[in-house]
Amino acid sequence: MIALHFFSRLYLGLVYLFVIGPMLIIIIDSLNSATSFPSPFETVTLRWYVAVLRHDEFLTAMRVSAIVAALAATIATVLGFLAAYALVRYPLRGENAIATFLLAPILVPQIVIGLAMLQLLALLGVQLTLAGLVAVHTIYVMPFTLRLVMTGLARFDFGLEEAALSLGAGRLRAVRYVTLPLVRTALIAGFVFAFILSFVNLPLSLFLTNPSTATLPIVMFAYMESRIDPLVAAVASMVVVAAVAITVTVERAFRLRLLG
């Protein structure tokens, strides 16, 4: 028993080390006053954070990423709900094929999707705009919202919609007042995951941005190609802290369990 106890602790420790370790290292790096990166720790400083806040390119990129992520997550949540509703509610011909097709974007390497989208936009004669970027992010994050909402709807008793109908609610109001509130957890969780996945995504955006639509990961990547200093670690730390903060805030606000 003692041996088992020891090994299960060791196992747990390793899990924590590899999940949280890299993020801790980045945060420590961002507080390091040494000008090269990575380098041994000298003294604690916040100068890199101050530098980020004065760095227009990073600030613009953060705003672009936030806009793209918000739009992609919103569209993916709406479309994901509609698709999940149809798939769960009605017996459809080729139901499994449709579900697999809609989940397919996760199976294709993202850089391939990005490249393919670039070619498609070129064929259609569409400029590289924010819309193209939002479209490709939406396609990529929709499988997550779809899956989560499908799971939520699988536990939903559609008899409740019939009850609402019998009480005089039309189809739309039945969904609005009964179905949506009862799959709220799945919708919010889907939106949060979609937002974060889009916000941190690099390969999808790689071919689809121009200087005015460069997302944060693109700017970070470009920055690291030319120079290495803890500035980029500060940006990364801000993203990690923001992601955790968003998730925790949403959990608190809606009394949900998103992080298990």
Binding site: G159, L165, S166, L167
Partner: protein
């Protein structure tokens, strides 16, 4: 003119004929029970009345209006579902007021109507609770209050008591009857439980394989079944198959294969006709000696005895015929032992003779 009318309704699910040319009339203020075994189409009938299912052929009329193609939200029909279908995210008050809110009534009017509906089902002080904080019986009352709060033109109940334990079931059965009378609302109640139907219904429709077999008062359905299916489904009846050997007036003499010569009552039938004699188990008398005053007396043997408290069930064999007899457990009741030789007897008036359609169709 009937208040609710189903006229020649036919419904197919894929290739399965769910309802076949079903017609049913319900009068205003009446409580009609649809009774039948599972799969007989009673729930499908209810869903068609509510508008949740469409018909392939036929018409549904309510208060003179043809509502066959009217969507459920425009029918003004209150429904109590088998699992209650209370909205789990809404309080009791919000559940009961839901229908009124959908009718865009004023806040104050809704609150008053909700109070009134909850008072009617005798539920006080639970208005702010969520459904999951209520007992099964309370949830049932909320479901009933929610359905009647909209002052519906018709109330439908789909096996509303099947999720309650036996004691609560009897209590809620009487509650439903009381509320139905109090608001004098035309009601259709679906059940597979004959006791429920007998106790509640003004009239009951017995269904079998997508058809209504008999519509009548509970007493008539029980005492005077018109069809062997009704006779076998309601109560505990012995079905004795035989052929007519003589008929005089309403008395019919027939002989079973066992052979027993039995006298019963029925409409005049030709000799040689295949018939079924229906004898309810409680109308069969058991005695040690042969009673002299009745026509149908047969020597028999007790095969088994089941003690049920209020009554005692005996399985007997008379010649080759197996009979079930139910004796009330009176203080002076004699307990017969299995294996004991006895006499079974019943009055001709207690043996209803019906044409055996099955045999006649086949032959």
């Amino acid at each position: 003119m009937p208040y609710l009318e189903l006229a020649s309704v036919t419904k197919n699910y894929r290739s399965i004929m769910a309802l076949t040319d079903l017609s049913l009339n319900v009068d205003a203020g009446e409580l009609m029970c649809l009774l039948g075994p599972s799969g007989c189409g009673k729930t499908t009938t209810l869903r068609i009345i509510a508008g949740f299912a469409t018909v392939d052929r036929g018409h549904v009329r309510l208060g003179g209006d043809d509502i066959t193609r009217v969507p459920p939200q425009k029918r003004d029909i209150g429904v109590v579902f088998q699992n209650y279908a209370l909205f789990p995210h809404l309080t009791v008050n919000q559940n009961v007021g839901f229908g009124l809110a959908m009718r865009n009534q004023k806040r104050g009017e809704i609150a008053a109507a909700v109070r009134e509906a909850l008072r009617l089902v005798r539920l006080d002080d639970v208005g702010d609770r969520l459904p999951r904080q209520l007992s099964g019986g309370q949830q049932q009352r909320v479901a009933l209050a929610r359905a009647i709060a909209i002052r519906p033109r018709l109330l439908l109940l789909d096996e509303p008591l099947s999720n309650l334990d036996a004691k609560l079931r009897d209590e809620m059965r009487d509650e439903i009857r009381r509320v139905q009378r109090a608001v004098s609302i035309t009601t259709v109640f679906v059940t597979h439980d004959q006791i429920e139907a007998l106790a509640l219904a003004d009239r009951m429709a017995v269904m079998d394989r997508g058809r209504v077999v008999q519509v009548d008062t509970p007493i008539n359905v029980y005492e005077r079944p018109k069809h062997p299916f009704v006779a076998s489904f309601i109560g505990q009846a012995n079905l004795l198959r035989g052929t007519v050997t003589a008929a005089q007036g309403e008395h019919v003499r027939f002989e079973t294969a066992s052979p027993l010569a039995i006298v019963g009552v029925g409409r005049a039938m030709a000799n040689g006709r295949a018939v079924i004699g229906v004898v309810k188990s409680e109308r069969i008398r058991l005695s040690r000696g042969a009673p002299l005053d009745v026509a149908n007396v047969f020597p028999a043997r007790i095969e088994s005895r089941t003690y049920l408290g209020a009554s005692i069930h005996y399985r007997c064999a008379a010649s080759g015929e197996k009979l079930l007899a139910t004796e009330p457990n009176r203080p002076d009741a004699v307990l017969f032992e299995p294996g004991a030789p006895i006499f079974v007897s019943f009055l001709p008036a207690d043996c209803l003779v019906l044409a055996d359609e099955r045999t006649n169709d086949a032959g």
